[in-house]
Every structure is written in C-alpha cells, then in structure tokens.
Symmetry: C2
Subunit: 332 residues, 2 copies
DNA sequence: CTCGGCCTTGCAACCGATTGCAAAATATAG
DNA sequence: CTATATTTTGCAATCGGTTGCAAGGCCGAG
C-alpha cells in the first residue's frame, strides 16, 4: 500500500541507505543525492515509518500518559497542557484511562508492548507504588501531582500538599474562622492525606479552635456535595478547606440547598484554581496550583530522562498561592 | 535490553515461529509446545512487541484521536468515553491536540508515520474537509460530531444540528417567548451554522416574532459572556438559544452582571447537557446530546472499518431531547 | 503393519527501516 | 599528475516479529 524507502530509492536511483540517511539528522549525504531523494520522496508522497525505524533505533517518541481524573474539570487544563507540551517536542501521547482500575501491571505491560520511551503518571490519587511499577519495569517515569517523599526512585513534579494544608488553615484563621473543618478527597489519595496533615499541624497550634475533618469518597462534585450535606445535617464548622475545587463546588451546591450563603454563613476555600472557579456564578476562593509550570516541567524532565535514563531522581515542587474570590469572608 | 521472541524460543527449546504462534490467536500449536512456551515466557517476563508485529501484520491497533475542543467541559465526557471505548476493544488512542491549527496536512502525515489503523476526528468546529483529508490519504476515518451532508465520503456520527435548532426555537415559542435570539458558536463551525438554519427556519414560520441572531468567537465561556454583554448593551431578546452549554454559562454570567435573573428576566436554552449544567448553581435548561451513544457508535464504526476498509460511508444520527431545568420560564 | 490425511513444526523470506564497514568517489596536498 | 585524506555510498546484517511452505510426526483406517 503505502510508499516505502525502497520505492523512493528506486525512483531516485540510489540505495535504500541513501534514502534513510537523507531523512536522519546529521547523516552523511551529499547535496546531490539529498536533492534527488527529496524530489523522489515528494513525488511519491513518502514519509518514513516511525514504527519501523523504532525497531532499530529503540526510540518510538511515544509517551504513555496515564490518568484516572477524567471527570475533574482540572483535567481539561492538565490534558491540554500535556498534549501541547509533548507535541511541541515531537513526542506523542499514548493515553491510558484507568478510571476503573488501579493495578499497574496491565498498564505497564501494555505500554511496554508499545515500546513507549517513557511514561507520565498524572494523578494525585494513584499511590506512589503505581509509578514505581514503571520504574521497576525499566520504563522511565515521571509522577506528576505525586507525593515526593515516599517514592525516592521516581521523579515527582507537583506541589507541597502539606504546605497547602497549612496555607489553607492560616487563611481561614486570618479571616477569623474559629470553627474550622477539612473536607478532603479520598483517604487513599496521598494528596488528601498530605493536605490533611498540613491543615491539622497548623490548626493544632491553636488549642482554642474547634476542629473537624472528614474525607469525601472521590474528587468529584457528587462526593463533595454528599459529604457537605452530611456535615450540614450535624453541627457544621463555619470555615472549610475543601481539598479540591470540584469538591468545593459540590459543597457550595449543598450550602445552597440549605439556603446558606458561601462567604457569609459558611466559608469555603478550595485548591486547584480550575478555570470554572473564576466563573462569576462560582467565584471560588482557592489555592492556585501552577498547572502549566508543573506540566511543562514534567515534560522537560521526561525529555532529560530520554537523554540520560539513569538520571538521579528528583522532586520538583512548585509554590502555590491563595486566590481571593467570594467564598471566604474578607480579612478583618 | 528487553526480552524477545528469540530468548523465549531458546529457553523453551522451540523455534521462534512456535513462540510467535502461541501468542497469535488461532494459530496451530500443540498443547505441549504451547505450555512449554508459556512457561518460558512467564519466566522471562516476555510480552510481544506490538510495533514489531505491526510491521508484518499491517495493524497497529493505534487510533488517532483528533480534537480541538480541549477547553470545553463537554470534552471531559467525550474524552473519557472515547478512551474507555477504545481500550475496551484493545485499541489505543494516540492523541492530536490541534488547538492552534486547522491545517490537516501535518496531522495526516504524523498519524501515517505512526501507522494508525484509523482516525477519529472529534470536533464540531473542524470543517468536513479536515476529515476528508484522512480519507484521501487512505486512512479510515470517522468524523464524530460532524456534519453529515457535505462529506459523503466520510463516516459521520452525531446529531442533527438543524433539527436541534428547530427544537430550541419550538421550545422558546411554547414557553411564550416572543423576542427570540440565537447566540451561536463560531461562524465557521458547521454546528453553529446548522443550528442557526434550523432555528431560523422555525421562527420564520411566525412573522410576528422579533428575531435576532449573532455568533460568538468560539465555543467558550469567555466568548459567550462577551457576546451576551454586547447584546445586553443594546436591546436584548427575552429568550435565547445559545448554541452550546459553555456559551450558555458565559451568557448566564453576563446576565448576572446586569442583575438579570435567568428564567425570569431572560430565558436561556443551551445544547449538550454537559455534567455541569446539572449543578444547582448553574441549573441550565438545555438540549441533551447523547454523548455516550455517539461515542460508542463511533468506535463501533471504527472497528467495522478495520474489518472492511471499503465500507460504504454512512451517517449515524442520534436524536436529542430537551432537559428542563431552571433557565427557561415554565410552559404556560 | 502400512497407508493416507491432518496437525505441528522449523526454515527462510519478509515487513520498513538503520547502521557498521569497506569500497568508491571526491577533495586536498605535494 | 600522483599520493593521501576525507567524504559519500552501497552492501548486508539487524531490529522483533509473522507467515507460506514443505518436511516431519501422529492419527485412525484398512
């Protein structure tokens, strides 16, 4: 069917090697042959088969991109940024949607079958062991949005979730909230636990506070809403750190059910600063996570690993900051 | 590096063909050899190289998935469904993000280099010619969310946008709106034009109506908001069909700026029924598009094209329905 | 026990490229 | 114009598999 090296070689009247060389960076071909080959290639509409060449070169430029957050709106940005960043560098994202499973073995096997050059695990809810499975299988891996401490063999890019917990707590306190609560994501997500730790660490410095916490079943609208409804049925706090913007929006919806005004009756601060948090009908005060920088840096790291697979693992942590909008009362 | 066919063959004491055969469906191998091979394979942790085999079989199971909607929340569902549906069938999505470009040549070339078995163009804003470029290059293609009429060589799966326009108009009229407007997506999107046509066709049956229309620069929150702000600065209609949910949300935000209550002062009906339209703080009346069915059907179609590449092209059109929520006044 | 037929198996060619090596062609020096 | 150094080129092996073909093994039937 499609036109191959051989066809071009025949038409140009040169050897197959010559054709191959004109298409590979920095190979030795004379200007004359090159132009003959290029002419023939254009005439036939030839473009080299990346997969065939990967056989000998050992590089496919395929990067496995693995996630399980497909319903969190922040994923829109994550995904757009990842695909662009990869494309810009001539790399191709091969997607794995593991919404239903958390067992790494299948993903590892599949991505190895496709000889990906590297894998990116983009999730704050998958355990460090997940990313490590790739490492152990000899696939270079970056865990974006991962926890830095527990997986020393794996490169991690993200934020300091413990510090974000502290930051949220400080913010609530500075605005005079005294009955404060943490409404976190799923308990088995490292991000949920780290934010919890930071939050508690900070509030425990103030024994006079009334502190509570709980964990939603997922980082989702429904889970946030359900959990907040549960809290409202008892004796709710007056200021909450919701471990994620989408949880926050769910919580806001629950408040509205009870006729409570966010920012007046009950304060909410989220985390992520997803696009929708800016929308006037949401207007969520939140902690901004520098998604674009995190992702660019992740892809940079991938590129560097391709050059040096034995690169010493590192954690790249980006600072976050509070974005003030309408769901917390003003500072006094 | 990695373990190959040859290693397994050596360990199992059989020929390479034997190993290959135990890993290919319906090849002739005796139970004895098969078990020897499987044992050796397990011992070495072997799994076949999909790319190498694609060389001879001509099938990669790679499917190009091309889109440019990465910032529309509906994309969350689209993407989740596509990746799952493909995975379930053992196909792998290779993503192309063409947010910045609309020229098919690059995408076509790239996907051919990776020998994708087929391509899916998932966009209502790319022109039919885009999908056709794949067809012309010999790559089986399905245009999901495309316009059926204008590209007879290309399979299309989606909705009848003209009918949706009519449906929206009828809905506004039935609720007593008499000054009605269409706030569409970008003029070069077939979906925006088709919805416009349907809408106009229906309202023009009623000469007493006061009809207006305009087009936003994109299917985005900002574009919807900007356009609605512009309309509100003049003499706005009292009932709008916004050509997309995300446009609607932008428009709602503009109404709020002017202290107008959606559903009371001005009516809005959207299209898509994205997840967020259900949120209480948005609560958008909209036309539901059966995303899941559309996508499942698209992937089915892809599978069938793989079996029969010369399959006669067809259009698969799914019916939509109005979902009543809070942004239109009740029917009298 | 022999024969014909069917199932298994291995050989070898091939898929579309890359690359080390040695020969050929060209450039440079003397 | 010859001798040497430098490119450029093609040959052939290789990457990790698949597959047509013919030979070998096994079966039941006669």
């Amino acid at each position: 069917m499609s036109v191959t090296l051989k066809d071009v070689a025949a038409l140009a009247g040169v050897s197959r090697s010559a054709v191959s060389r004109t298409f590979t960076e920095g190979a030795s071909v004379s200007a004359k042959t090159r132009s003959k080959v290029e002419k023939a290639a254009k005439e036939l509409g030839y473009s080299p088969n990346a997969l065939a060449s990967s056989l000998t070169t050992g590089r496919t430029k395929l990067i496995g991109l693995i996630s399980n957050n497909f319903h969190n709106p922040i994923f829109l940005e994550v995904f757009d940024q990842f695909t662009r960043a990869l494309q810009e560098r001539g790399l191709r994202p091969l997607i794995v949607n593991l919404t239903d499973e958390t067992e790494p073995a299948n993903s590892v096997r599949m991505l190895r079958q496709y000889s990906v050059d590297a894998a990116i695990v983009a999730s704050s809810t998958l355990p460090p062991s997940f990313a490590k499975a790739f490492h152990d299988a000899g696939v270079p891996v970056v865990h974006t949005f991962g926890r830095s401490a527990t997986s020393p063999e794996v490169h991690v890019v993200g934020i300091d979730n413990v510090e974000c917990g502290r930051m949220a707590a400080r913010e609530l306190l500075a605005r005079g909230y005294r009955r404060v609560g943490y409404l976190g994501g799923p308990k088995d997500a490292t991000s949920a636990m780290d934010r919890y730790r930071g939050f508690m660490e900070e509030v425990e410095k103030h024994p006079e506070l009334d502190v509570s916490y709980s964990f939603a079943g997922a980082y989702s609208f429904e889970a946030g809403r359900t959990e907040m409804l549960r809290l409202l049925a008892g004796a709710p706090a007056d200021g909450y750190f919701c471990g994620d913007d989408i949880l926050s929006v769910g919580a806001l919806s629950a408040l509205r059910d009870h006729g409570l005004k966010p920012g007046k009756d009950i304060g909410i601060i989220g985390l992520n600063d997803m696009e929708m948090s800016r929308w006037e009908n949401i207007d969520l005060t939140t902690i901004h996570q520098p998604i674009k920088q995190i992702i660019t840096s992740s892809v940079d790291l991938v590129e560097e690993m391709l050059k040096d697979p034995k690169r010493y693992p590192e954690a790249r942590i980006f600072p976050c900051r509070v974005i003030e909008r309408g769901t917390l009362r003003p500072r006094p």
